[in-house]
Symmetry: C2
């Protein structure tokens, strides 16, 4: 039997990462989120903090400025492009190796041609996400609303840059769930059930 | 206990209507689709065919031309606006009266303030939908692809006009399902389970 992969794309503060972890635990398979950063760090030589920032978020200053300012080390690639290429390779290798859950990092796009891949998007309304990030990460100088909009914008720009698709567009996912209304546990339950089902594709 | 409503928005050819019917049957509650047209016909005095066309699809010629050419009968409203106002009233009354499934017709927006309302979007890729509409409705002069694009465009324009929201935007729905990959039966099963669950909102 070929490996089954679940990719989870998520809005910041929607609990997508928690859903990924709990789902993987329930299914007895690994969940790659921070673990992916470790692997990319090993292969690329960059420190983890730098990869965490570069492997999923576009720069506030815009891509062109970023690409120009950092170009040079890796055959003319920017550091971000270089990290993308390693991250892509790591994700493809993981999908070949074992069934797993992969959170974020355009894994849905990278694994788009893999038959046994369930593509999930987790979202929630601003109010519920704002409450969640304050509980989880504490207060900061910026308002929760500004933090949410900033993170979403940077994830969305990153996704669009590397995939040429729209982040959060319903057509790109097999299932999209509002975790704020359905609740984390119900999302995990639905996805675990789908993992065990024979999907028609 | 208050009534529970499931609204199903759907891409043309995605099987959303079939999912609505089968779901309602499984839950033992009514499904309003064509039945809504009958009710609006009774209240408005227009024939069913006219309502079927005007109650969910924008005109090919664009809204302004349509509104101008038909304005006059009902306190200055276009026929389409008049039908919208009756349809809105019928949907609100149904939601007050009983638990049910409502397919299309911006019911998700009309019932947006109702707590016990599960908002669903059903979609599938072009290839699967093209196959489905040819099987279901037969061939026509236009290619299946053109028919799909035309219907989606007109539904989307209609939805945007009356709701000022984006049709098919993941944030507008509690759950969005790719019926082409998950299959009709699995979609029905997931939604029936959600109907019986206590949703956190």
């Amino acid at each position: 039997m070929s490996n089954k992969i679940i990719t989870i794309s998520r809005q910041f503060g929607s609990g997508g990462r928690t859903i990924g972890k709990e789902l993987a635990e329930k299914l007895g398979i690994p969940c790659y989120d921070h673990e992916l950063i470790d692997k990319v760090a090993q292969e690329s030589g960059f420190v983890k903090e730098y990869i965490a920032e570069k492997s999923e978020y576009s720069e506030r200053g815009g891509w062109l400025a970023n690409a120009l300012s950092e170009r040079g080390f890796h055959s003319g690639m920017s550091n971000q492009d270089y990290i993308w290429s390693i991250q892509r390779k790591v994700i493809l290798e993981l999908a070949e190796k074992e069934s797993c859950v992969i959170v974020g990092r355009c894994a849905d796009y990278i694994l788009r041609d893999k038959a046994e891949c369930l593509k999930v998007f987790i979202h929630a309304d601003m109010e519920k996400r704002a409450k969640r990030i304050v509980e989880k990460y504490g207060e900061s100088e910026d308002t929760p609303l500004k933090r949410l909009k900033d993170k979403d914008k940077r994830r969305s720009t990153y996704y669009h840059f590397y995939t040429d698709m729209e982040w959060g567009n319903v057509a790109n996912y097999h299932i999209a769930l509002d975790s704020g209304v359905l609740g984390i546990n119900k999302c995990v339950e639905i996805l675990a059930d789908l993992y065990h089902s024979n999907i028609t594709e």
